[in-house]
Amino acid sequence: MSLLIKNGFVYDPVNGIDGEVMDIAVEGGRIVEKVDEREAHIIDASGMIVMPGGIDIHTHIAGAEVNSGRLLRPEDHVYDFEPKTAITRSGVGHSIPSTFTTGYRYARMGYTFVCNPSMPPLEARHTHEELEDTPIVDKATFPLLGDWWFVLEYLRDGLIKECAEHVAWMIMATKGYAIKIVNPGGLEAWGFGRNVRDLDDQVPYFNVTPREIIRGLCIVNKILSLPHTIHVHTNRLGQPGNYITTIKTMDCVKDLATSDKPVIHITHCQFSAFKGDSWANMKSGAEDIAKYVNSHSHATLDMGQIIFTDTTTMTADGPWQYTLYELSGNKWVNHDVEVETSSGIVPFRYRRKSYVHATMWSIGLELALLINDPWKIYLTTDHPNGGPFTSYPKIISWLMSRRAREKTLEKINRKARARSLLPSIDRELTFYEIAILTRAGQAKALGLKSKGHLGVGADADIAIYNINPRLVDPARDYKTVRRAFSNAAYTIKGGKIVAKMGEIINVPDGRTYWINFNMDCDVFSQRDLADLRRKFREYWTVEYENYIIPESYLKVSAPITVRVGV
């Protein structure tokens, strides 16, 4: 079926289109030059905004950890449920919605591509099973490789090429998309009841440093020509004074950038942008980080904005989750994933009246507003760590309206308000910039060529929001903006209308993107393979044969083939 979206205000930053009134034609799931108007289904988008489908570069929606979170929190489900309809399934969950509900809620907001950023390789099968049950949206998932014993051993021994071969094997075996690094070295140290204090602190037993891990995997990432950069959750996340670690982390791979192409992505940067040396004098480090990012081009960031609500924190950062348990006294889960990584879960409520929480709220927005180039920072909450993804429309309204920010500022902790940089920031993002923060920029960072734009040949993933940029002043009518972004007038996925004014009308399966390496050399030389099998025997509870996820296991496989000459 062909579609013709007529007369919308189109925001397509990749192609430099800034609110021009134009038609978008769709045929065969892609955007085309034109369609036969007599045969196409016409969508009248006059007075509405047309954007590429939303992209979320970092959202924990599937896998063992997310599911443990669901089990841990029946109280998160009891008041937030969706009954089934003729075509949708029932589901529950405010901060950790069930899989189907996750897909529907993203689709309602006009999102069509999401990245599950933290997959213990051992749990890859579970993760893909849940992603399969997350309908409509396309997805990708990032295996955790920063504390992986093999990687640590190869890097310790300076075997970069072997490390790259191994990472390639891992990404293919787990059907992953990018290299995720969480608190490099810290997770392994946690196995010894410790953490790493800085970039140059040695990891017990392995005798490598976080710096060596980050640099090593950054080089591996380049060797393998992965479409995304390394995706880094910094050391010392959530600790006062960590902003300096974040800057050092970006700086430690600066020399590895040979073009304007970024080489590192710092995720949920808000949690890594604290100044001060204790919770009492903790304050924003956003200005320093923004200054660094503004004067360098090798790093991208996402916000990790917090929302004042009851949510669930979950990361692979075992020591940090333990700290959160100690701070909150809440129920908690902490887990060591064999030779691979760790993880933890703690329910958490961010309170307006808490100095620390209110400061964190401010930091997230300060980062997005002080970093001048919208292509360098993307909108996330690190769902559900900072708050559920369903709060994105609220964040959009804060970014677009000084008045919306002031309204919230009035309600937060007084000391935090007095120290917040927000009152001194006049910047209000435009719809064009919002389109970058929520889709175009993320697509670029992920190296997705056919996503995040509306040019001919792109996938027909489109969001139409019922808001007229000529009539609505987002700075003043921020509530209208929030409403419009909460329920897209139309969400189109692969050329099909999937949601209409908050109602799901079509439930196609999303595709799973993964990297399929086409190596010039044999990935596993016989020696390496024998070594790998031996290590599986010795270290894992899972055999080599059962570890690899075959492509046939994915419902809709979308491999991206990358040619590498190792």
Binding site: L72, R73, P74, E75, D76, V78, N330, K331
Partner: protein
């Protein structure tokens, strides 16, 4: 001087009925006609209140609203949920989640009540003449929003985890309780006139538990602190003597667990730690 609306089941329910609308706050200001159209769930079926219950206006004078439930309501859940005023009198048994989240008013059950009676209560009064199920005053599964204020009296026995995660208010059980009374409680008072099956106060941070009957043992994470001649509960002097324990130390707790000395001679070995 009051309005009394009588509610009687039309038949014996086989599946749970969710009827949070049976509350003075919801009934107030509505005619019988409007009340009878209120929505309830019978299993997974949406129903009108009068399809399941016969409604009758017994007395109609100016004043406080009383809802009189007559018959077997043991399958009916959420009676009086979130109510803040008025009265509910149950002549029969009440189901789970009775008075959940209520903040005022009164519920009297001339029979027994199911689990979670007074769950997450914020105020008001519940009196159960028979026995009660598990989780009296406890929050919904997983939540830590335990009972904050108000009074729950159970004349018969109660089940496990009475006052789980309680943060305030008073629970009085005149019969016996099963395991884990006052588990993870933060504040408030639980008074048990009968016996306790054990594990009293596990994880408690603060608040008081008083057990007049027998308890097989006290958790090892409680430490004896003194022997008290009596304890005051809501203005009433409960004669002792009582062993007073402090715990749960495993959670850094400073809760007080009073256990009758006379009915628990097997605990006398603790006395040597008092010298």
């Amino acid at each position: 001087m009051k309005i009394i609306i009588q509610v009687t089941p039309r038949y014996q329910f086989k599946v749970p009925v969710y009827a949070e609308c049976i509350s003075p706050n919801v009934f107030e200001g509505k005619g019988l006609e409007e009340i009878s159209r209120l929505e309830v769930w019978e299993g997974n079926r949406r129903r009108r209140l009068n399809e399941l219950f016969k409604l009758e206006l017994v007395k109609d004078e100016e004043g406080e609203l009383t809802i009189n439930l007559v018959g077997n309501f043991s399958k009916v859940r959420g009676i009086g949920a979130k109510m803040s005023k008025g009265r509910i009198i149950v002549d029969g048994d009440a189901g789970m989640h009775l008075g959940e989240g209520m903040s005022g008013g009164e519920i009297i059950v001339n029979g027994s009540a199911g689990s979670w009676a007074g769950g997450s209560m914020r105020g008001g009064r519940i009196e159960i003449k028979g026995s009660a199920g598990d989780y009296i005053g406890a929050p919904y599964r997983g939540s830590n929003e335990g009972m904050k204020a108000g009074l729950i009296i159970v004349h018969g026995d109660a089940g496990r985890e009475v006052g789980c995660l309680m943060r305030g208010g008073l629970v009085k059980i005149y019969g016996s309780v099963r395991h884990f009374v006052g588990i993870n409680m933060v504040d408030g008072t639980i008074f048990v006139r009968g016996d306790c099956a054990g594990k009293a106060g596990a994880g408690m941070r603060n608040g008081r538990i008083i057990i007049c009957g027998r308890i097989p043992s006290v958790l090892p994470t409680f430490t004896i602190d003194s022997i008290r001649p009596n304890v005051d509960v809501d203005g009433e002097r409960i004669p002792g003597p009582f062993y007073r324990f402090i715990g749960d130390i495993a959670d850094g707790g400073e809760g007080k667990l009073f256990v009758s000395k006379v009915t628990n001679p097997h605990l006398s070995h603790y006395e040597k730690y008092l010298q």
